[in-house]
């Protein structure tokens, strides 16, 4: 199958259809660029010849995919750039392509449905008109900054001409996704149409452009006064200065890309050609930095895991919708599962222990939807429709039609076993049973049940709605069909499934709890509280580990560690600080007291902690942030290694993606195994060995690391 096809219409308009082979989404490959270049040359040549009947009078850029116009470049191609010059050449080629589209005597119309990201938006901006379908699939973004890069095809300047300098910079620097309605409001696109009419209207507009002959409608700034005020040299200069000053990014590398984007745009506004030159030079430089390359590698890994067919049933991809599900419990996990399911159109029978508990879950779901759809024009209607799907009960009724049953009871084996046997007696026998936990193995929960082959575990350590990852654990008795079915369901819910081998704790919980526990060890060794937090936010985590404990709740962390301790021994023994704090009523953010005090929307470090934990403030010593980072990361790394050795995960790539998507591991660091590779396995082995001498067995590396250290010395080939 060709990635680009040309379909001439009777009207003289040709449809240029982009269709990346064997993929749900379109990505602009080098081959694709080449085809586009050839096509443009052909139509230019045609125009120079005598008029003929099969002449292409106008072109519509259309996608052959349902959810993607063009979702970006083929990222793996970017990894081939080893010299800045190679990136620059690539950039010049794209600039040339877009220029040709823009300056072609044949009008171009972009008919956009689905994701139009990065280079996709740049191509669309080069067209004379952009028509978008008004569905929630449509998303436009200049998101190169997410990969440590800048736009590479003159898109920044085109964006500034259409939106004005300020708004263009906002989009470029934030990488913000704009939906169909907003894109119309801000003038990023020319027309918003129903999905069904997209092609017909695009064609009509293309025909109008042929007859009008004047398709050079470029300056569409909102009104002359606005232009005079904002788009004069003095105002622009002030704007650029202001925005430069506002950029406060923790990491130098991401600041680079932002500064370069600003720089290139500023030059481009004064001189188009010099701007394009600057853009290409900067792009080339950025593309070979380790920062951008790691971001790209992480993106590739995520895409791989997302579409991995490791667990899908071969040939029979379950596409039918999930009509009904049952959710048991009143935990956060129950609330987020109920809202996630209802959000995706599944009817949910919610079973709680009493009315008050059910009311709280309903409220939680309502709050979730109100937040999520706050900007919707039809917010009340959307809210009503979603909530209509959830019906609360205190008995096991309405379970018979549920294809999956989600149990999200408290972390207690006996309760979980009882609920499973109760649920089994009221549901259809082939319903998939999902037990939510952060540490209990599904094999234990399902050990006495009738259909252990239908039981799987699911990790609910984080908030499901926030995380893209759903970790599923399959026991030895779980059937392949069940795994395939649940993987299909998770995908339909818009999440990325990661299937792991069942055991105590899920992969991410083990790594996460080991990391949090180590932070407590550091605290007890006399490391300054703020230093621990700062070290990890400096590394790129959203929050420090002690904030994270507060957020998760201290009981959850302690109970989780206790279960792990039971199974894995000393290594994961909960730090005594947890008990001390829980006994003092410091349960974390939920109780408004933890390591921090929570007053309204603010949190402040609670100094009385030192007294409670008998830490003598005079003993606190300054250690370097690097040392703290290393200690905490190596605790994650070691647990990851042990998981891999135990066969919990299929490989290092899955582990890294799980950490990035599930734990907020910084994308530009890639994950624990990328972290090992950055030092080399041998070096990591040495460090772990030294730590284990000083701090004991919890740092003892598994034999796997030794094998890698004496072998390839790395987990990834690239």
């Amino acid at each position: 199958m060709n990635s680009i096809s040309i379909e001439p219409q009777k009207s003289g308009v040709s449809i240029l259809k982009i269709n990346t082979p064997s993929s749900d989404e379109n990505f602009l490959s080098g081959e694709c660029i080449e085809k586009l270049e050839e096509f443009l040359d052909t139509i230019e040549r045609q125009l120079d010849m005598v008029e003929s009947d099969d002449e292409i009078k106008a072109v519509i850029l259309l996608s052959g995919k349902d959810r993607s116009f063009i979702s970006g470049p083929v990222f793996s191609e970017y990894l081939n750039f080893t010299l800045a010059d190679e990136g620059r050449t690539y950039c010049l080629r794209l600039q040339d392509l877009c220029d040709k589209i823009e300056n072609s005597r044949t009008p171009f119309v972009a008919a956009i449905n689905g994701k139009c990201l990065g280079i996709g938006l740049e191509l669309a901006l080069a067209c004379n008109l952009r028509v978008v379908s008004g569905t929630n699939k449509t998303l436009l973004s200049m998101n190169q900054i997410d990969y440590g890069l800048i736009p590479s095809a003159g898109g920044m300047q085109r964006l500034a001409r259409i939106l004005g300098t300020k708004q263009a910079l906002d989009l470029i620097l934030s990488g913000e996704h704009v939906d169909a309605d907003d894109s119309m409001d801000m003038g990023l696109v020319d027309e918003l149409v129903p999905e069904e009419l997209l092609l017909r209207i695009a064609e009509a507009r293309a025909i109008e452009l042929i007859t009008k002959q004047s398709h050079q409608k470029r300056f569409s700034l909102k009104g002359i006064p606005g232009t005079l005020i904002n788009e004069n040299p003095v105002a622009r200069k002030m704007l650029f200065k202001k925005i430069r000053g506002e950029i406060r990014v923790e990491r130098e590398q991401s600041k680079n890309a932002q500064m370069m984007a600003i720089e290139a745009l500023e030059i481009g506004i004064n001189s188009n050609s010099r701007g394009l030159h600057a853009e290409s030079v900067y792009f080339g430089e950025l593309a070979v930095t380790g920062y951008a390359r790691q971001l790209i590698k992480t993106e590739i890994s995520i895409q791989d895991v997302r579409k991995s067919d490791l667990y899908s049933k071969s040939g029979s991809e379950a596409t039918d919708s999930l009509e009904k599900a049952a959710v048991i419990g009143e935990s956060m996990g129950a609330t987020s599962m109920a809202s996630l399911l209802a959000d995706n159109g599944t009817a949910v029978r919610l079973k709680c222990s009493d009315d008050q508990a059910a009311g709280r879950v309903l409220k939680g779901c309502r709050d979730y939807f109100s937040d999520k759809y706050v900007d919707y024009a039809q917010k009340d209607m959307v809210l009503e429709k979603k909530l209509d799907l959830i019906s609360p009960a205190t008995e096991y009724t309405g379970f018979k039609r549920a294809r999956i049953i989600v149990e999200a009871e408290s972390e207690d084996l006996e309760i979980k076993k009882n609920v499973l046997s109760e649920a089994e007696s009221v549901s259809i026998s082939d319903a998939v049973y999902l037990t939510c936990s952060f540490a209990l193995p599904v094999s234990l929960v399902a050990q006495d049940c009738r259909r252990p082959d239908k039981a799987v575990g699911m990790n609910v350590l984080g908030l499901l709605n926030d995380s893209e990852l759903l970790e599923i654990s399959a026991s030895d008795r779980t059937s392949k069909e069940t795994v395939a079915e649940i993987v299909g369901i998770v995908r339909r819910l818009g999440k990325t499934p990661l299937v792991i081998k069942d055991g105590a704790g899920f992969y991410t919980s083990r790594v996460w709890l080991s990391y949090l526990n180590e932070a407590l060890h550091l605290l007890s060794e006399g490391v300054l509280f703020d230093d621990i937090e700062e070290a990890m936010t400096g590394f790129g985590f959203e929050d420090g580990p002690l904030s994270a404990i507060d957020e998760a709740g201290l009981t959850l962390v302690r109970d989780g560690l206790n279960i792990l301790f039971e199974h894995f021994g000393e290594r994961l023994k909960p730090h005594p600080y947890l008990d001390l704090m829980i006994d003092d009523g410091r349960l974390g953010a939920v109780s408004e007291r933890g390591f921090y005090k929570y007053i309204k929307d603010e949190k402040r470090f609670d100094k009385s902690i030192y007294k409670l934990l008998s830490i003598n403030e005079r003993d606190i010593e300054g250690v370097s942030l690097d040392y703290i980072q290393e200690r905490l990361l190596l605790s994650m790394v070691n647990e990851s290694l042990i998981c891999l050795e135990q066969g919990v995960l299929p490989g290092a790539k899955e582990a890294d993606v799980a950490c990035v998507l599930g734990l907020g591991f910084p994308r530009y660091r890639g994950g624990p195994f990328r972290y090992i590779d950055s030092d080399g396995a041998a070096e990591t082995l040495k460090k772990l060995h030294n730590l284990s001498i000083k701090y004991g067995a919890r740092y003892t590396p598994p034999p796997l690391l030794k094998d890698v250290a004496v072998g390839p010395n790395r987990f990834y080939e690239d």
Partner: protein
């Protein structure tokens, strides 16, 4: 009756009945329909795709959901491909929805019908006066500000006053209460008898509630937006209501000679009810054990200018004839109590040979009602009366009571405004 197609009642659920302006004041008619409908679909585990038709009744029209049944269906998970319509017949609206469902099944048009009735008296619409509405219409046709404003300038102050929904009978100008006064006088129903009957209603209802008799039929209703308040019981029922308390109340409609008080008439209430009907074969094929079957039903009607709320005395003998039964064969009766006076007048008429001869053209009286079979867990005076929903409650309550007793034949009967009466005969097996 052998080999005849029968309609089975597979399940029925209602919301608690709550005094107007109370806990349900934030819920619309639509909400009060969706809540029991959703719960019924859940409790019966029916696949919504099996439902062929949705029919709901309501009295007070709702502006934004004129086909209320359709909105209830869509909001309850019934597939969009299933048609729905809304009926209205005063207090018999839910019964009308129910019997329309029966007809639909017996005629072979449907196998499974979701029916019910709802009323939100708290959420009644208020109309602008006719003059005001005319002005709006004229204004909308104007092209400029002057033309748009002009129609309103012609209005008088009195035109601003809103029209509230009619509570009086249009053809007679009498309110329901006034009609009930008239009945009490004609049938010589004393104030004391009325109060005693009202007290009985409260006593039986509170007893039934405390024994958990209603638990199976009531869906616990979560009050948005916080869902912290959950309503699970009818809040109009008063435990230990003294006769003296009722006697102390002043007549409402005729303050001089009247006997009708707030105590011996049904209170304004919000609520909803949903019932799932199936053909007998379908119910068996899907493996249901029906609560009961419809044996027959009939409507009757009287001149509203005569005795407005006597409809039940006209519809009952017809329904009994169609069932091939007499009143003596009935084990349990659920009769709607709009007023004590209305119930007692009808019971008089049932027992009266004169009434039978003069009004019904029958030689024998319908029969004496055994009071121990009537409204055994109280009635509308105590439980409340959300107009469009009451008919549904009577059916649901009757079938739940029949299930718990050895009763095999039951009767639901209701007199409605407009002079309409409806009677439905049920059999357990």
């Amino acid at each position: 009756m052998e080999n005849k197609k029968r309609v089975a009642v597979v399940g029925g659920i209602r919301t608690p009945f709550i005094k107007a302006g109370g806990d349900f004041k934030g819920l619309s008619s639509l909400d009060l329909g969706k809540i029991p409908a959703k719960e019924l679909i859940n409790r019966t585990d029916i696949s919504p795709g099996e439902i062929d038709q949705v029919i709901f009744g309501t009295v007070i029209p709702t502006i934004k959901t004129s086909n209320l049944a359709r909105e209830i269906a869509l909001g309850s998970g019934v597939p969009a491909s299933v048609p729905a319509f809304t009926v209205t017949s005063a207090c018999a609206s839910a019964n009308q929805a129910f019997t329309s469902g029966i007809d639909s099944i017996l005629s072979g048009n449907s196998d499974v019908v979701l029916t019910g009735g709802v009323e939100s008296i708290s959420d009644f619409p208020v109309l602008f006066s006719k003059k005001f509405r005319d002005s709006f219409f004229a204004s909308s046709k104007g092209n400029n500000l002057f033309q748009k404003t002009k129609p309103f300038l012609k209005m008088g102050v009195s035109d601003i006053a809103p029209d509230v929904p009619a509570i009086s009978e249009r053809s007679t100008g009498l309110t329901m209460g006034e009609s009930a006064e008239k009945m009490a006088m004609i049938h010589r129903i004393s104030r004391e008898d009325q109060d005693r009957f009202a007290q009985r209603s409260h006593e039986l209802s509170s007893q039934a509630a405390s024994e958990g008799v209603f638990d199976e039929e009531i869906v616990h209703t979560f009050i948005p937006p916080d869902y912290a308040k959950v309503v699970a019981v009818d809040n109009n029922v008063r435990e230990g209501l003294e006769l003296q308390t009722l006697s102390d109340l002043k007549p409402v409609f005729d303050t001089q000679y009247g006997t009708i008080t707030a105590g011996n008439s049904a209170a304004l209430t919000d609520g909803g009810a949903a019932i799932l009907l199936m053909s007998e074969e379908k119910a068996k094929a899907l493996g249901y054990k029906p609560m009961g079957y419809v044996r027959s039903y009939a409507y009757g009607a009287v001149d509203p200018g005569d005795e407005l709320l006597m409809g039940t005395a006209y519809s009952t003998p017809r329904a009994l004839d169609r069932a091939g039964l007499t009143l003596r064969d009935i084990d349990l009766i659920e009769m709607h109590e709009s007023f004590s006076a209305q119930v007692l007048s009808n019971l008089n008429a049932f027992a009266s040979k004169k009434f039978a001869r003069e009004k019904l053209g029958r030689s024998e009286a319908i029969g004496e009602v055994d009071i121990n079979k009537l409204n055994v867990s109280g009635g509308s005076i105590a439980i409340g009366h959300p107009f469009g929903a009451t008919g549904g409650r009577l059916i649901i309550t009757l079938l739940h009571r029949m299930a718990k007793r050895s009763a095999n034949i039951g009767l639901v009967t209701l007199s409605a405004a407009g002079g309409i009466g409806v009677s439905i005969v049920f059999e357990k097996e």
